[in-house]
């Protein structure tokens, strides 16, 4: 018996410690080995990630109204505010709040709802007289009346609503959605942006950017007049065969470049050129809304040769029928009513009322609402108090209000005809059902079948996600 065996217990203890350590290191290095949850799988050629749960929706139509339409004149009926119209707002509501122009010391006055409200449909949802067509479809809609955000100015708040972060540079909800879902139709982009309205938006490409995600997921803007996509059609004398040959040559150069440098953006560039080629054939047919029968045009209220919101709604429906996953409708009509809220809304609401109602109705009739989400949101709400000293009802308006906003959603997986969340009697703060923009994003991702905490992208050494470090799914509105 040699000495080594006599000391075997000591040796065994000593050596086993190294072994357990190795196990722990192996575990932390390969998460997949240790976690029961399977890693995000990629399906085959479509480059799709497999959802974590059974998806309820496959596509999203996002109606984005920069400027922030006034929820107090559209959806959130506050009879107490009407009663206190013209009186100085009680300090208790204003304490500790920050608005853009209104300061609590200036003793702002309560501004009652400027239009009449009524309850509609089986669900009894409150909608004002400004939206008569929309009132007919409220039974298919879920309202969230207590949506909070952290930002009180347009740029950061729009970025927060669109990309989950108040500073530019992050991928938008649309980019995350197509990153997660891939595209159905290889001849059309997965994420399309349609703009209407005369004013310039505050954000330019950040409103539909892909941030650090591969740029193939960036939104493609379809223009309403002229060429739908700039530089898509061939110049005179240049045939499609010529174009294909040049694109093939460019892509061979790009591939050589990629072989040398390995930059993944080059691959995105190659695929975009190929997509552009395929789009040449597919886009003209897709954007040809005038091939729709007359009754459809009557339903939406479209106008020929104009970049109207109605045209865009109809185009959005056509695009999603052709496999586009995410259509973002930016209506830059000028919703920022710091003044002249009465005339402003009277002028603008008819332009969105019929089309958005028609969209919900049309999607429902076609059975598309089963697996589509329509999301309508401004970046924040508007204050219950008036802005500015002049209380002339023709000139008065409301300031930005980050503490409570109303948005609506309609589609698969949501409880139709439900109103979730409530604000206090004057509409300042949520009293129940308060949700943050992050929670809305988490819910949208959940409807798409993804756990918002597990849909991540590694960048700059950490795993980024749409909801950053927050976000809780709004379970009560999910079926």
């Amino acid at each position: 018996m040699n000495r080594k065996e006599i000391q075997s217990r000591r040796r065994f203890l000593r050596e086993s410690i190294a072994g357990f350590g190795a196990l722990a290191v192996a575990g932390s290095m390969s998460r997949d080995l240790w976690a029961n949850a399977a890693p995000l799988e990629r399906a085959s050629a479509g480059q799709d990630l497999l959802p974590h749960f059974a998806p309820r929706i496959k596509r999203v139509i996002h109606i984005n109204l920069p400027g922030a339409p006034s929820q107090l004149e559209l959806y959130d009926y506050k009879p107490m505010l009407k009663k206190l119209h013209g009186e100085a707002c009680p300090d208790s509501f204003l304490k500790g709040k920050v608005f853009l122009a209104v300061s609590p010391e200036s003793r702002p006055r309560c501004l009652g709802p400027q239009f009449n409200f009524a309850q509609h449909g089986q669900s009894g949802a409150w909608v004002s007289e400004l939206l008569p067509h929309f009132s007919k479809v409220v039974d298919d809609v879920t309202f969230l009346k207590a949506v909070k955000t952290d930002e009180f100015n347009h740029g950061p708040a729009e970025l927060m609503m669109l990309s989950g972060h108040a500073r530019a540079g992050r991928p938008t909800l649309g980019a995350w959605s197509v990153f997660a879902l891939g595209t159905e139709n290889q001849n059309l982009p997965g994420y399309v942006v349609l703009t209407s309205g005369d004013t310039n938006g505050v954000l330019s490409k950040d409103a539909y950017g892909a941030g650090f995600l591969p740029s193939a997921h960036q939104g493609v803007r379809l223009r309403a007049s002229g060429d739908p996509v700039l530089n898509l059609s061939n110049p005179d004398g240049f045939t499609s065969a010529d174009r294909e040959a040049s694109v093939a040559a460019i892509n061979r150069l790009n591939a050589l470049n990629h072989g040398a440098f390995g930059d993944p953006e080059i691959l995105a560039r190659i695929s975009q050129y190929q997509l552009a080629n395929r789009m040449q054939a597919a886009v003209p047919e897709a954007v040809d809304v005038w091939s729709e029968p007359q009754h459809v045009h009557a339903l939406y209220g479209t106008t020929p040769n104009e970049a109207s919101f109605a045209n865009n709604c109809l185009l959005a429906r056509r695009l999603i029928e052709r496999g586009v996953r995410y259509v973002q409708l930016n209506d830059n009509a000028g919703w920022d009513h710091h003044s002249k809220i009465r005339s402003g809304l009277t002028k603008l609401c008819p332009k969105i009322d019929q089309p958005m109602a028609a969209l919900v109705f049309d999607l429902k009739q076609r059975g598309l609402l089963e697996d589509t989400l329509v999301l309508w949101a401004g970046e924040f709400g508007r204050t219950p108090v008036s802005e500015g000293g002049n209380f002339d009802l023709e000139l008065v308006g409301r300031d930005h209000h980050s503490y409570a906003n109303t948005i609506w959603m309609a589609g698969g997986g949501l409880k139709a005809g439900m109103t979730y969340g409530e604000t206090d009697e004057l509409g300042f703060d949520p009293v129940s059902g308060a949700v943050h923009v992050h929670d809305v994003h988490a819910t949208v991702l959940r409807l798409l079948g993804f756990d918002h905490e597990r849909l991540t992208f590694a960048f700059q050494g950490r795993d980024y996600r749409l909801t950053d470090v927050a976000g809780k799914i709004i379970k009560p509105v999910l079926v």
Partner: protein, 502 residues
């Protein structure tokens, strides 16, 4: 430990099981060494030697039997924690799977023996400390090379602190371990995950509460107070003290009285020391008894108030269609490759073989589509979208083989009454889209025969308003999406005013 719920508990159990199997292996190795190799000479007085011998035998017994019982428990149940350290699958012991009574016995014995082991450990520790202090050449110095008395003190106190931490800090490991080292993530939905509220009975959500919190004392194995709560008949019968449930009257029901008492009350149920009912569970039982305490009302028919609806959501009753929660194996990849020429097929979600398919966009309308190849994935296919595809009426018959279909979209195809009939009785079909097809009122009979159907889309077909109305009255559980036709267009444009519902 009993406070940790949900995924924390699962993660801890996974660690516990892995540690247990590790200990089992180590003990077997230790016994092998002990039997084979030389043993150290016994020291100390005779009583010390006998005590040591008894303690060591108890140790070996416990360290073999306790992990074996644990293995039995894991085999008898079927939780997610059956992979040792996350990757070595633990085979189930034969003859035990699913026998929950046996599992309960094993659990109790496992716990009792573990307490016994704690006693033995304490004895052993006391003896080790005694040796270390009393005998300079003994104790830790013998095992650890170069150990000096002072260093030994630090080791002893460190060991004591760690033991106390692991014993008393419940959730310690889970709270401190990084996510990457968690062994188990519990599935998001709870045991109620596959309940479809349109068809499930309220009792199906209430019964798991009884099984979980009451069964040990009022179940198949024992009936304290003569009361069993494991079947509906037993619930209504009551026990030695009479009936415990008065249907419709929660305030006269003894069961409700007892579960609503403060935990320190002597009559409170479950009794002190056992896991109490959560507030959500209590509310659910209160509502169930108050609304009649029967076992035949569906959740939908019972029309629970908002509070109970959120309770049900909290308890994980999801409206996830049972058809989408079924677990199926994945099909052969070669089959999928063949299908991908004409269809876009994709798995529904990760970890399950369920699939969805649609006619490829670049193929739509170009040439007639053959539906026969889809039969190869009949077990997996749950969603099928053929909208706008060129299929003839005869081909619809091929779809009758897809017995697991939950959603079928035939919008804008050449489907008509005859071909719809060929669809057969798809027993899981919940949504059928016939927008802009040629079906007429004659198809209502076919539609009515689909047992699980919840929604049918019939806009722009040849059904008449009268036919729709008649069908809606006869079949209130199927929602027909159809609006008054829009030619001539409604005055002023926009969607038509919805008809008032009955």
């Amino acid at each position: 430990m009993s406070d940790a719920g949900g995924s924390e508990r699962e993660s801890l159990l996974a660690w516990h099981m892995s540690a247990g199997m590790g200990i089992l292996l180590l003990t077997i190795a230790r016994i092998a060494t002990r039997v084979r190799g030389p043993r150290p000479l016994p020291t100390g007085a005779r009583w010390e030697q006998r005590a040591a011998s008894v303690t060591h035998t108890a140790f070996y017994f416990a360290l073999i039997v306790i992990p074996l019982l644990g293995w039995l428990i894991v085999s008898a149940s079927s939780g997610p924690s059956n992979h040792v350290f996350g990757f070595v699958p633990l085979p189930a012991l034969p003859g035990v799977v699913g026998r929950s009574a046996f599992g309960a016995f094993a659990e109790n014995t496992h716990r009792l023996l573990a307490y016994g082991l704690c006693v033995v450990v304490a004895l052993h520790t006391a003896a080790a400390v005694k040796h270390h202090l009393a005998d300079p050449s003994s104790g830790l110095i013998r095992i650890l090379p170069g150990a000096r008395r002072l260093w030994g003190w630090r080791m002893v106190s460190l060991a004591a602190v760690l033991t106390l931490m692991f014993t008393f800090a419940s959730g310690f490991a889970d709270a401190w371990l990084p996510n990457s080292l968690r062994l188990a993530h519990a599935p998001e939905a709870s045991r109620n995950a596959s309940i479809d509220p349109r068809r499930a009975h309220v009792f199906a959500t209430v019964q798991p509460i009884f099984m979980d919190k009451c069964n040990n004392c009022h179940g198949s194995r024992s009936s304290k107070g003569g009361l069993r709560l494991n079947t509906f008949a037993a619930l209504t019968q009551g026990g030695e003290g009479g009936k415990v449930i008065v249907p419709g009257k929660a305030d006269e029901s003894e069961l409700i009285r007892r579960i609503m008492l403060s935990p320190s009350h002597k009559d409170a149920m479950p009794p002190a020391g056992k896991p109490p009912l959560t507030p959500a569970e209590g509310q659910l039982l209160l509502w169930w008894v108050g609304s009649g305490a029967d076992d035949s009302t569906t959740i939908l028919a019972a029309n629970p108030p908002a509070l109970i609806q959120s309770v049900l959501t909290e308890l994980g009753v999801s409206s996830e269609s049972p058809a989408l929660a079924k677990k199926v194996a994945r099909p052969d990849p070669r089959v999928l490759d063949a299908l991908r020429n004409t269809f876009r097929v994709q798995f529904l979600y990760s970890g399950n073989g369920l699939m969805q398919a649609e006619a490829r966009f670049d193929q739509k309308g170009l040439q007639p589509l053959s539906l026969e190849p889809l039969a190869a994935i009949a077990d997996q296919l749950v969603l099928l979208d053929l909208s706008g595809a060129r299929i003839s009426g005869r081909q619809i018959g091929d779809l009758s083989k897809l017995h697991n279909l939950q959603r079928l979209n035939l919008a804008r195809t050449a489907t008509d009454d005859v071909s719809l009939k060929a669809l057969g009785d798809l027993s899981f079909l919940e949504v059928l889209n016939l927008y802009e097809t040629k079906v007429t009122d004659a198809s209502f009979a076919t539609i009515a025969r689909l047992p699980s159907l919840a929604t049918v889309y019939l806009a722009h077909t040849q059904v008449t308003a009268a036919g729709v109305e008649k069908f809606r009255q006869a079949q209130s559980s199927i929602s027909v999406v159809w609006a008054v036709p829009d030619e001539p267009a409604t005055a002023g444009g926009g969607p038509p005013t919805p008809a008032p519902k009955r």
